[in-house]
Symmetry: C2
Subunit: 294 residues, 2 copies
Amino acid sequence: MLHFGALEAGGTKMVLSILDENRQILVRESIPTEPPSVTMPVMIDFFRNHQVDSLGIGCFGPLDLNPASASYGSITKTPKLAWKDYPILSKFREALQIPCAIDTDVNAAALAEHAYGAAQGLGSCLYVTIGTGIGGGLVIDGKAVHGLVHPELGHMLLRPVERDPSPDGFCPYHKGCLEGLAAGPALEKRWGMPAFQIPEDHVAWDIEAYYLASMCHNAITAFSPEKIILGGGVMHQHFLFDKVRRLVAQSLNGYIASPAITDGANDYIVPPGCGENSGVLGAYLLARRALEEA
Amino acid sequence: MLHFGALEAGGTKMVLSILDENRQILVRESIPTEPPSVTMPVMIDFFRNHQVDSLGIGCFGPLDLNPASASYGSITKTPKLAWKDYPILSKFREALQIPCAIDTDVNAAALAEHAYGAAQGLGSCLYVTIGTGIGGGLVIDGKAVHGLVHPELGHMLLRPVERDPSPDGFCPYHKGCLEGLAAGPALEKRWGMPAFQIPEDHVAWDIEAYYLASMCHNAITAFSPEKIILGGGVMHQHFLFDKVRRLVAQSLNGYIASPAITDGANDYIVPPGCGENSGVLGAYLLARRALEEA
């Protein structure tokens, strides 16, 4: 039986898993993200000890994903300075001497949703995580989209809501981008309490739903995904789904004449079909492909 | 020698061309777009008389491009009521009895730019036309993107500019969408004169460039195209390119750390490499593919 290593590399924690050929999770461990000199040896030992046949990495970004680049598989510009320009892919390849593959954490999750989750059987899907940050992974024609760099959906610019006391948001880079307006920390800064403490009838959620709906509106007009999957901590407020669906239909105003949207979008804007496992299954898929292509 | 029919079907005129295997344009005619009962027989006669081996149609939309749909190849929801729900593809197929293919006018142009123009050799590109309306065609991994319906980039929502006297724009469907803010008619309504009469130093162009740059910003964060091609009548104001490039770099603020953008985007945001022929060459490509796949 083959064993696959799956690494969900995040800015605050690293989740390390071992899966078998039937995508059963055999082992799962989580360690804090410290500088590479501390964290990398622990991870290398973990995957080496479990004798994995290949490794897939769903990684926080931005990443260099251009196969022709000298720094392919490196983390590039990150506020986690110890990891800036760190060649995570080649370090794993050198240490483990097995096939390794990398993609953004959200592209990995989108691949998993496409293969096993809410977008099974479709050509395309958009996976968006709304948590400490906001990121989007995009699968078109069965493949993760990289393009020039890779999508950075959290930094899309949105029209402000009139009732929003902080219509410019809190992103240090961009006035009025999605992440600065709608990520968990933006909710907390705007309303003075953590997202999970904000009551369901608070105007905060109407404003939040408006921004998420605007993002969906713009994604639909930009590349017309066949399914939009919203995950991450903020979406644990499940009542948000109906608000977002309603506002997307209202905002598009019948212009995109697809029943998937005009009939209420109940089956179009959905939670992850893989539940909390989109990330690990995405990394697993990357590992499988790395082995197949080796 | 094979002959290919290329139809650029627009809301105000139909441009009919015949090309040979070397993509030389042998014949080109333009007729006004009247109701199908008037215009279709003329077009059918034209392509029949020139004995084309196949036909490609780059068509105004929205279109039904779902091959599994009963109304595949129909124009769907258009303000040109005589063409609403008109099955243009099947009418041509029935009348001409040759392979015919259809895509949106802007997807056809994007395919041509990818095959022969500014995006040759790249995996992806975005083609945007800014004229009477605004539309975007998207090629990813060498293929035109359809997804749920097809992109409708003109209806992306944008943040208003403070100095804009009409920050909600003029689209009857959406407050603050790209087309309502930045298409030719929006310029004319906002400033009381046709776009081509507005002097180069008028604030109109700063505002126009801001909206086009916001669209580029959002496209880059959404799907990271390898090239952005801006065409259409409004872009005949060539000084707009430099304004847009500068504002895109400023707006992304170094976050997308690709030299293609941070070095000034001179080679990233560009006019069509096929000049005024993106549309006809796109329809030609559709015709060639229709014949190959027949």
